[in-house]
């Protein structure tokens, strides 16, 4: 599903030097994989995730998603591909404060120009599936951290992406809530969704089928 070849990411330093965040990353991800990217702080985990999520365009190398050569795509084409294939889960949930739970779920669909009635059906399904129907009119600040992340995951999968990228999804949750979320990922994975998560937790990594270790920008 994903092939990364010789991916490098660097930031310029003084006197024409560069600081490399990622170096010569080669990685293959098959459909249905549940990969955990691990490593110490500053190893380049989040940077790799942002490249995979096509938020970052300042890298070199080759990145193929499905049949699409991302490295050859223009920004607009990358955005379209991302909208079609990828869902995000963030450590800080990043729910939109002024929108209700319902509206937070609706927004990725509206950005994908999904029709109104279809959106309503999809949101209703998702609320039901995640057992948060009763919370649909609440605002994020009225939810616990676990509930917020539950909405975050629901929002990530609502547009039925093939790939979920999760950046420390349980980092801000206590263990019980964290387990709930990881169980949810496992379930989604078992239903066919490919998942790549960045985590510090061995336990969370245990939910996946493969671990990629990064250190100083290299896969080790």
């Amino acid at each position: 599903m994903i092939q990364l070849r010789h991916i490098e990411r660097s930031h310029p330093l003084a006197k024409g030097n560069f600081f490399y965040v990622l170096r010569d990353i080669n990685l293959d991800v098959a459909e249905g994989d549940f990969i955990s990217i691990m490593g110490p702080s500053g190893a380049g985990k989040s940077s790799l995730l942002h490249i995979l999520g096509m938020h970052d365009h300042g890298w070199t190398g080759e990145y193929t998603l499905g049949d699409a050569p991302v490295h050859n795509l223009k920004a607009k084409e990358r955005a379209a591909l991302r909208n079609e294939q990828i869902g995000f889960v963030f450590q800080n949930y990043h729910l939109l404060d002024d929108l209700t739970v319902y509206e937070n779920l609706d927004i990725p669909l509206s950005y994908r120009r999904v029709g109104k009635s279809e959106r309503a059906a999809l949101v209703a399904d998702t609320l039901d599936r995640f057992h948060i129907v009763g919370k649909k009119d609440l605002y994020p600040r009225q939810l616990s951290g676990g509930q917020q992340q539950l909405v975050g995951v629901a929002r990530a999968i609502i547009s039925r992406p093939k790939l979920i990228l999760a950046d420390e999804p349980t980092g801000n949750l206590h263990s019980e809530q964290g387990e709930e979320i990881m169980e949810l990922f496992k379930k989604l994975n078992s239903e066919g969704t490919t998942i790549i998560q960045v985590t510090h937790s061995e336990k969370n990594a245990g939910y996946g089928n493969r671990v990629v270790q990064l250190r100083d920008g290299f896969v080790v």
Binding site: S46, H50, H55, F88, N92, H94, Y111, S159
Partner: protein, 826 residues
């Protein structure tokens, strides 16, 4: 405190962009306000520069049945007032005149006045050297002396210290200079709003009055202004009541002169009211406009300070965490805003000095007492108070909101919006709504005035003013004597103007030339009553009293006013030929409705008496807007100069090219006929027309300027708020982009927010404008106060500019890098 000022200054220097925009915002508003305060202070508030001016009144007469108001007084009537009007303890008469000064050098026409000797003591005016007139310096044979102005003394006589006692030749007669009035003395004050005269020129020579004998018999010949000083404790109303009795007595004594149906009367008007009454509405509207500009600027300043306080939330939280109390934080924030307001106020004062100079230049023929306008202590005091008030009041809003930061949220890296943030947003949004609403009111006002002005410019005045130059010629009685009344000329006057016409017609480039006693739109007027043949004069019913002009034959060819029927005057119309008259369509319609006016006859004498001289209507011409482009054409009639020679005429010359090129040749021709004859007040006819709408132009210009400033400030305010909104929502926008939002979605989000604010602002502004536009009604011409086109256009303009102002930050928002936006919180 010193420390706070130091910190505040350091902070302001560190953000030069913010500081410059804030100071400019305050400066524009304070500058506009102090300029208008100065204007209103000098023109309306400050007493007139005479002794105890509140007791000074002007006395005018009226014929209300004919719509004639504030008309001058005749010599016998004045003498009666002098004897009978006891409500005043001093009374004086004055009239405008012009003197041809020919003491060596180029002959020059100087504006002057003939006045009662009592005038100077009545006004409490003292000469800077010499003396003014004594009681005995009055009457024919005793009036060979003049008082001149310091201006003329400086300009024409190089401040000659020995000028007093010397003789000047004016209008061919010798006059001794007995005194010099200081520069500050002005009377009559220009721009008296009197029927038939605008009196725009400053007087430089005063001469004692000497009523010619024939005038002393003519109660109908009204040309004098009368000023009086009310006795202490006498009100205008009681003076008015006394006048009523005097007039009733005249009507009994002179029934032939005062028909009951004419609505004759006399009224007193406070001098101050007379001088500034005409401009009061306009100035108050201007005051309202600059008040709005100030409010908009204040809202802008508050908005900017709120944004700045938000950006400093963490800094303020750290200060509080380190032990600063709310008062300390408040003081720090207030110090900044007060510094901005004071510096802005000082810059504003400088701007207003410059603005007033500009205003003095462009408003010279429009606003009375403009020479007295200056930035005095009271204006500086008001400006300082307004600046400080602005700084404190509008600095207080953001300071109060920010003085108690919520530490836990503010100190947390990436903490979400606090309650203070929400409150700030609400206030900021409200301020932008207010700015847009106020700007809309100003724009609607300016739009309505502008549309009126355009409509006025497109009015057909009934003549073509392009490529015509005009100048005034006044032939002195001594050199050009007349057998009749002194204002009428004789054979020599007719010969002069006939010869001048012949010579000018031969100049290369001249297409036509003619003279008229009264030029359209020049601010002067003249009317006279007449009787119509075949219509019996009813007792107590006045005959027609219509506007009259004396012209030479080619007048309508110069003006290109169409002849409807009959003929123009020609050389065969002489002093001895049949007396003829040309009337305009309005007079034909008014006096001969449904009949043919051509060939009808009128007379100026009493048709019931024997030996009536009938005057035959030989032509009917198109209507001319004489009193103003905004006033409907009045009935007019024209008599040939040869049959009623006036000694003061306006020469109008039509040329094929720029008519100004003809001026020196014309002057040469006139002076070759009479080397002492000056040519005065040379203006193109286009300038005359433009001057006639100068007050409107000034209103449009000033209100337009203030509206533009308001628009600019509202745009800056909207830009500031939306920019800040974008910064504040960077994280949210990043999340949205990570969730798939495209540029258009982000644009819609940001511009949508602006649109909501602009929409509310416009809706509020439209309601306010509907109420305030009514105040403008008096200044509008053929445009309703609620003109939908203006409202729609202005709303569209404001909306477009506000949206543009929000589009720029919105565009910036679309370039937000989701990675950076999101990493702010990780």
């Amino acid at each position: 405190m010193l420390n706070e000022i130091k910190v505040a200054l350091r902070g302001l220097v560190k953000t030069p962009g913010f500081t410059a925009v804030a100071i400019l915002t305050v400066a524009l508003a304070i500058g506009a306000n102090s300029a208008v305060f100065s204007l209103i202070d000098a023109v309306i508030v400050r007493p007139l520069p005479y002794h105890d001016p509140s007791r000074l009144v002007l006395l005018w007469e009226q014929f209300s049945a004919q719509g004639l108001d504030r008309i001058p007084v005749s010599a016998p009537e004045y003498l009666d007032f002098e004897k009978e009007f006891k409500s005043v303890d001093q009374i004086a008469v004055f009239d405008y005149t012009a003197f041809n000064l020919a003491n060596g050098g180029t002959p020059e026409r100087i504006s002057g006045a003939v006045v009662s000797p009592a005038l100077f003591s009545l006004l409490g005016a003292e000469p800077m050297s010499g003396r003014t007139f004594a009681r005995e310096d009055q009457g024919v044979g005793h009036d060979d002396m003049i008082v001149i102005s310091e201006r003329l003394w400086n300009r024409r006589f190089n401040s000659d210290p020995f000028l007093l006692g010397k003789t000047l030749i004016l209008n061919g007669r010798s006059y001794t200079v007995i005194g010099v009035m200081p520069k500050a003395f002005e009377f009559p004050i220009p721009l008296f709003n009197v029927q038939g005269g605008q009196f725009a020129e400053r007087v430089d020579i005063w001469k004692p009055i000497a009523f010619p004998p024939e005038e002393l018999k003519a109660r109908y010949n009204r040309s004098y202004g009368v000023i009086g000083r009310l006795r202490p404790g006498t009100s205008v109303a009681s003076a008015q009541a006394e006048l009523k009795t005097i007039v009733a007595n005249w009507m009994r004594l002179y029934p032939d002169n005062y028909s009951t149906a004419a609505g004759f009367g006399a009224r007193v008007y406070p001098l101050h009211e007379q001088v500034v009454g005409g401009v009061r509405t306009g100035l108050i509207i201007l005051l309202g406009a600059v008040g709005f500009v100030l409010l908009i600027a204040c809202a802008n300043l508050a908005t900017m300070l709120l944004a700045r306080a938000s950006a400093r939330e963490r800094e303020l939280a750290i200060r509080v965490a380190l032990g600063a109390g709310p008062w300390r934080v408040l003081r720090q924030l207030l110090t900044e805003s007060v510094i901005l307001a004071v510096v802005g106020g000082a810059a504003g004062l400088l701007l207003s000095v410059w603005g007033l100079e500009l205003l003095k230049r462009i408003g010279a023929r429009t606003i009375p007492r403009l020479a007295e306008v200056n930035l005095d202590f009271s204006v500086v005091a008001v400006t300082t108070a307004v600046s400080l008030g602005t700084g404190i009041l509008f600095g207080l809003i953001p300071a109060l909101v920010s003085a108690k930061p919520e530490l836990t949220e503010a100190l947390k890296e990436g903490g979400r919006g606090s309650t203070a943030g929400t409150r700030r947003n609400r206030i900021r949004n409200s301020l932008v709504v207010a700015e847009i609403a106020l700007a809309l009111v100003l724009l609607v006002g300016a739009g309505l005035l502008m549309k009126s002005f355009v409509r006025l410019q497109n009015v057909d005045p009934g003549f073509n003013s392009s490529k015509v130059v005009t100048m005034e010629l006044s032939l002195p009685l001594v050199k050009y004597p007349s057998p009749g009344a002194s204002y009428l000329g004789g054979e020599s006057t007719i010969s002069f103007f006939t010869e001048a016409h012949r010579r000018i017609a031969e100049l290369p480039g001249v297409q036509a030339n003619a003279c008229t006693s009264i030029l359209p739109l020049s601010g002067t007027n003249s009317d006279s009553s007449f009787s119509i043949e075949g219509r019996a004069m009813k007792a107590g019913s006045p005959g027609p009293d219509e506007e009259i002009r004396t012209i030479t034959p080619d007048y309508f060819r110069v003006l290109q006013t169409p002849l409807q029927r009959g003929r123009f005057f020609n050389d065969a119309d002489t002093a001895t030929s049949e007396e003829v008259v040309i009337i305009n369509e309005a007079l034909a319609r008014k006096c001969w409705p449904g009949q043919d006016a051509l060939g009808q006859r009128i007379t100026f004498s009493d048709p019931r008496k024997p030996g009536v001289k009938w005057i035959t209507i030989v032509g009917i011409v198109g209507n001319i807007r004489h009193r103003g482009l905004d006033l409907e054409p009045q009935p007019e009639y024209y008599i040939p100069h040869t049959q009623s020679p006036a000694r003061s005429m306006i020469l109008a010359v039509r040329s094929g090219q720029d008519p100004r090129e003809l001026v020196s040749a014309i002057r040469r021709e006139i002076q070759s006929m009479d080397p002492e004859q000056p040519v005065a007040n040379i203006r193109t006819f286009d300038t005359v027309v433009a001057d006639s709408v100068a007050p409107r132009r000034l209103s449009v210009l000033l209100l337009g300027l203030f509206a533009a400033v308001a628009l600019l400030l509202a745009a800056v305010g909207t830009y500031g708020v939306i920019s800040y909104l974008v910064v504040q929502r960077t994280h949210e926008i990043g999340v949205r982009m990570a969730l798939g939002a495209q540029r258009s979605d982000v644009l819609r989000l940001v511009v949508g927010h602006a649109l909501k604010l602009v929409g509310i602002g416009i809706a509020t502004g439209v309601v306010l404008a509907i109420f305030s536009a009514r105040a403008l009604s008096a200044l509008l011409y053929r445009v309703g106060a609620f003109d939908p086109v203006t409202f729609i256009l202005v709303t569209g303009l404001l909306g477009a500019i506000a949206l543009l102002a929000s589009y720029i930050p919105a565009l910036r928002a679309t370039r937000a890098d989701p990675m950076i936006a999101l990493s702010r919180n990780t």
